[in-house]
Point group: D2
Amino acid sequence: MCRFLLYKSNSPILLADLLTRPAHSIIMQSFNCKLRIDRRRPMNGDGFGIGWYDEPRTNGCIFTSTLPAWSNINLQRLAEKIKSALVFAHVRATTGDTATSESNCHPWQFGNLMWMHNGNIGGFDRIKRRLQNSLREEVYLSLQGTTDSEHAFALFLNMLDDPEHRDEFSHAELRQAMLRTIAQLNQWLDEAGVEETSLMNFAVTDGQSVVCTRYITSAEYEGASLFYSSGSEFRSDPETGQYRMVKANKREDVVVVASEPLTYERSDWMAMPTNTLLVITPKLNVHLYPIRDKYWTNEKRHA
Amino acid sequence: MCRFLLYKSNSPILLADLLTRPAHSIIMQSFNCKLRIDRRRPMNGDGFGIGWYDEPRTNGCIFTSTLPAWSNINLQRLAEKIKSALVFAHVRATTGDTATSESNCHPWQFGNLMWMHNGNIGGFDRIKRRLQNSLREEVYLSLQGTTDSEHAFALFLNMLDDPEHRDEFSHAELRQAMLRTIAQLNQWLDEAGVEETSLMNFAVTDGQSVVCTRYITSAEYEGASLFYSSGSEFRSDPETGQYRMVKANKREDVVVVASEPLTYERSDWMAMPTNTLLVITPKLNVHLYPIRDKYWTNEKRHA
Amino acid sequence: MCRFLLYKSNSPILLADLLTRPAHSIIMQSFNCKLRIDRRRPMNGDGFGIGWYDEPRTNGCIFTSTLPAWSNINLQRLAEKIKSALVFAHVRATTGDTATSESNCHPWQFGNLMWMHNGNIGGFDRIKRRLQNSLREEVYLSLQGTTDSEHAFALFLNMLDDPEHRDEFSHAELRQAMLRTIAQLNQWLDEAGVEETSLMNFAVTDGQSVVCTRYITSAEYEGASLFYSSGSEFRSDPETGQYRMVKANKREDVVVVASEPLTYERSDWMAMPTNTLLVITPKLNVHLYPIRDKYWTNEKRHA
Amino acid sequence: MCRFLLYKSNSPILLADLLTRPAHSIIMQSFNCKLRIDRRRPMNGDGFGIGWYDEPRTNGCIFTSTLPAWSNINLQRLAEKIKSALVFAHVRATTGDTATSESNCHPWQFGNLMWMHNGNIGGFDRIKRRLQNSLREEVYLSLQGTTDSEHAFALFLNMLDDPEHRDEFSHAELRQAMLRTIAQLNQWLDEAGVEETSLMNFAVTDGQSVVCTRYITSAEYEGASLFYSSGSEFRSDPETGQYRMVKANKREDVVVVASEPLTYERSDWMAMPTNTLLVITPKLNVHLYPIRDKYWTNEKRHA
C-alpha cells in the first residue's frame, strides 16, 4: 500500500512547504502510517515520485527515485527551490517480489496528463492481457513497467481522444474517462471471476483540472482512506511552526487531497466518502460525485 | 549495444579471475570497446548483470545493478569470493530513452534457465503485441520489463515444454527451441514489414548445457562480434600477470564465449561465423551449427 | 538508530535462513522495531550491510547497499546461495542530514577484521579531530566516510599491533583493544565536556573470535538492547515453519547476538546486561565481562 | 579525470539547452572525451552533479547522482524545466578504489558558495592530515567525503572570513582566496616531498562572481584543458539545430568555461593558458590573470 497527495492552488507553493517541512507531510507518512489497511509492511520506503506543473498547458515534470523519500537529499534540495501550483506526490511500498524500479514509480506521464494510484487491482494478472489487447498502439507501446497502476492509466488514456497531442481536456471529459476506466476494469474482473477486492484511489490531471477517486470493489468495506481540505493558504503558523490550512476568507485558493490529513487539525480535513469521485476545476471549485454502480451503498461500511 | 561473456568449465573459477582482474575483462570492455558496430554510444555503462550456478540441477543466482560495472564495489568484493563452473556476464548500454532499470538488466532467469542477449530486434515494437499474445500465461506473466531481449527469452520459453518445473533439458532441445525462436521472430518481422536489421546474439543455459548464437537478419553484413576459446585452464601467467587460455593438454576443460577476446593472444580466439549456433554440452564438447535460413550465405559478408 | 546481528557457528548456515526467511529477521526488524529507544525515525530503511567469512584466516566479504534491505533483490538472491559460519548484518537509519552513502554503511573491514556499531557517540564532532590526530597513518587514511561508527573502528584498529598484515588475533587481544577503545572515547568525551549520552554497542571479529559490547555512557539508563542465544542449530521447525534455536544437546554449536530476539521464544534469548562485553571464542565458548568503569552500577537502570 | 562546465549570463538559460540537448554537451563528453590526459579510464560514468542559482544572494541548488549522467532520466526531465543564469556542471570518473558515493560528487556547497574541481592533487594523502588540522572547526566539520577536491574547497573556505554567514563576496576576495589556496597546497606538497604532479582546475562562485583556474604543478606540461567562450546568446541554430555561441553584438551577455568546447566552432573557443586564473564579474566582464609562481613559464609547454 502506498500514499498519495495532490495539491492545486491559485499561486505556486514551494514544494518544501508541502512535501518535506510539515511534520505530518507525505514524507513523514512514509515513517508512520496509522491509517493503513495493509499492516504487513508498515511503511512506504520503496521509492517515491513527485510531479508538478510550472505553467498551464505545458507538460509537467516528474522526479522519481527508488531510494526512500526521507533520505533522498536531491528531493530535499529540489523541494527548497521548486514552486508549483499543481503538485502530485506519491510514496510507494512494493507489494510483491519485484525489484524496486524507477519505471514502477508513480506518477506516470503521457502528453500533459499525469496519473497516480493508491491501492491495487486484485487479480490483475487475470485481466492484464485483455487490458493490453484493448489498447491503441501508441498507448500500448507507452507502457514502461509492469504494475497494475500504470496499466490502469493506459486504460484511462485509451478512453480519451488523441491524448498524445492535446494539451487540454475539460474536467467533464476527464471525469467520464475515469468512470469508464473503473467500469471497464470491473467488467473484466467480473468476467475473469476475480474475487479479490480492488482498491482504486486514482488521481489524474492535465495540469488544469484534477479528477480523483476513492473507490473499492465492495459494497461492504471502506476504501483506502482519502481526505481533502481547502482554504486560502497552506502554510506554517509563524508562532507554532505547525503547518495548517489557513481559511482567511471565503475564497478557496488551495485544495489538497491526501491519503492522510497533513495537519493535526482534523476538523480541517473531510474524509471523501467511499466510492466517490472528486473534481477540482481549473478555477478551484470542488465537486463530489457518487459512483453509483453495483458497489454503491447507502449503508454504513466496515472500516 | 551491449557485451556478453559466458564461461563453462569442469571446475569452478573464481569470478574475479574471469570478470574483474583480467586487463581485457568484460568490465574493461565496458571502457574500451573497439569492435562495436554501433558507434553512437561508445561504452557500456548502463548497468550489468552476472549469473552463475554453484551446483548442477539447482537454480542459478543473479546479481544485477544499474550502476556501471567498473565502479560497483559490491561486484568487486563478491567476485573475490564466489566460484562457479558456469557463468554468464553482461554489460549494458541502453539504446533508447527508457530509464535504466534493474528489471531491464540481463541475464534473466526462469526456473533454472538463464538468458542474455547482445544486439537488438529492429522494429520490435511492431511485433511486441503479437509476441505477447503468443505466450502461455505463466510465461507472459513472468515478464518484468519492456526490453526486446527479455521478450525474446519469453518466446524461447514458450517453445519449451513446462520450463517452470523442469531442472534439466537436453542440449538438443535447447538448440531446437533457439532455432524456433529465431525463425518465429523472423516470420513476424517479415509479416510486419520490418526492414530494420536485427542482431540476435542470444545465450541460454539450464546450468549444464549452453546454447548461443551469432545471428543477423541480413545476408550481407556480419553480425555483432562473438568469439570463443577453449583449453585446459583460464588463468594468469605467473610471470607476466597476463591472463590467458592455457592449453596444457588436449582435453578441453574450459570453454569461453565472449563478444570480444578476453586476452591479447588473438590466435587463442576463434571468431564464430555469422549466423551460427554454438552448443557446449555438459561434458564440454563444443559444436557449431550453421543456421541455414534465408539469411544464410557462403559469400563474404561486410563488416 | 540501527540494528545489528551476528552469528557464529561450527558449520555454515545459508544466509537466507538467518537474514531473509525468519519472520522476525533483521530485515523484518527494519519494518517493525518495538524495542527502539529513538522513536523519531521508526524504521531502518537507510541502507544495510552484511559481512561474512567463508574460510578461517581469509578476509571476509561485504555486501552493502543504500537501498532498504527489504526491497533489495540482490540481497534476496545472494542470501539463497551464500553459506557462512560467521556473519555480521546491519540495517541502518541515518540520524542526520547526510546523504545516504555506501561509504557510511556498516560493517567496515580492515585486513581481516570486521566492525559494526549500533548506537551513536554523543557530541562526536567535538572529539573527531582529536581522534583523527591520534591515528597511525595507515589507519587514518583508511577512513572512507564520516560516521562516528567508522571512526570508533579506526580507534580500535589503532589499539592493535599491525592490524593491516595479521590474519589472526587472540580473543583476549581483541577484548583488551575494545575496552581501551571505549575508555579512550570516554576520556576524550569528558575532556571535551560532552554531556550527551553515547550508545556503544560495538561488534568486531577477525573471522574466528567475536567481541561485542552493550554499553552506554550512563550509570542510570539501560543501553540499546542486545540479546544473545545459543544452541545446537538455528533452523525452521518443519511443522510450523517458525525459526528457532534448537537445543538438541548440551553442545553449543551456534551463538547469535542481535539487537532484538530473532524468534518468538523469548526464553531462548538472554538480554546482555548493560555495560557488558561478550566474547565468543573460536571454539564457541561464550564469556561475559562486566565493563567496570565509572558507568558501572549494581543498581537497577531505567529503560 | 573528470570534466566540468560553468555558465554565467544576464538572463536564465534552460538547463537542457546547456546540458542535455547540445550534441557536444558535457553529457556527451562523458561518452567521448578526446582531449583527456588520463587515458586509463576513457569516460566519465561515475556520477555527476549540477548546481545552479535561481536568484542572486540566495543559496544555489545541487542535484547529484552516482548514476551516469547520460542515463539519468531525472536529469533529463529537470533540465527541461529549470532555468538559471549561473550553472555549474560536473561529470566524474573515480580514480581510485573507493565506492562511488553521492558525498564524493561535485559540486559542493557551503553557505552560498559552490565549488568543483577537475584534476587531482598528487600525493594528497601525504598532506591530508595537515590540511585538516589547519581548518577552522565549522569548516572541518562540514567535510562530507574523502576526496582531495572537497578538501581543497575546505582549504579555500578557510581563507575566507566567515563564509558560513555571508551571502556575497567581492570577486577580488574570491580571487585572492583561490590564489592562497593553491599556494598553500603547493607549500605543503613541497614540504611533504611529493613529486607527483597535481592538476588544479578549480571553479568557485558565490552566485554572482565566478573564479576558476587552469593550473598544473609543473613548468613543463600543459594543465588539464580548459576553454572559454562568450557572446550574446548560447542557443541552437534554427536551421541546423546545432548549438553555438551567437555574437549578435559587442555586448557579452553569456560566458561559458568548459573542459572541452561545447560546439564545433573551434574559433569561438579560446584555450585558457595553463596556470591562469579567470574571473567573471557580476557584470559579466572576463579577466585573466597569470598565476606567477615557480610553475610559471613563458616557454612552450608539452601537451
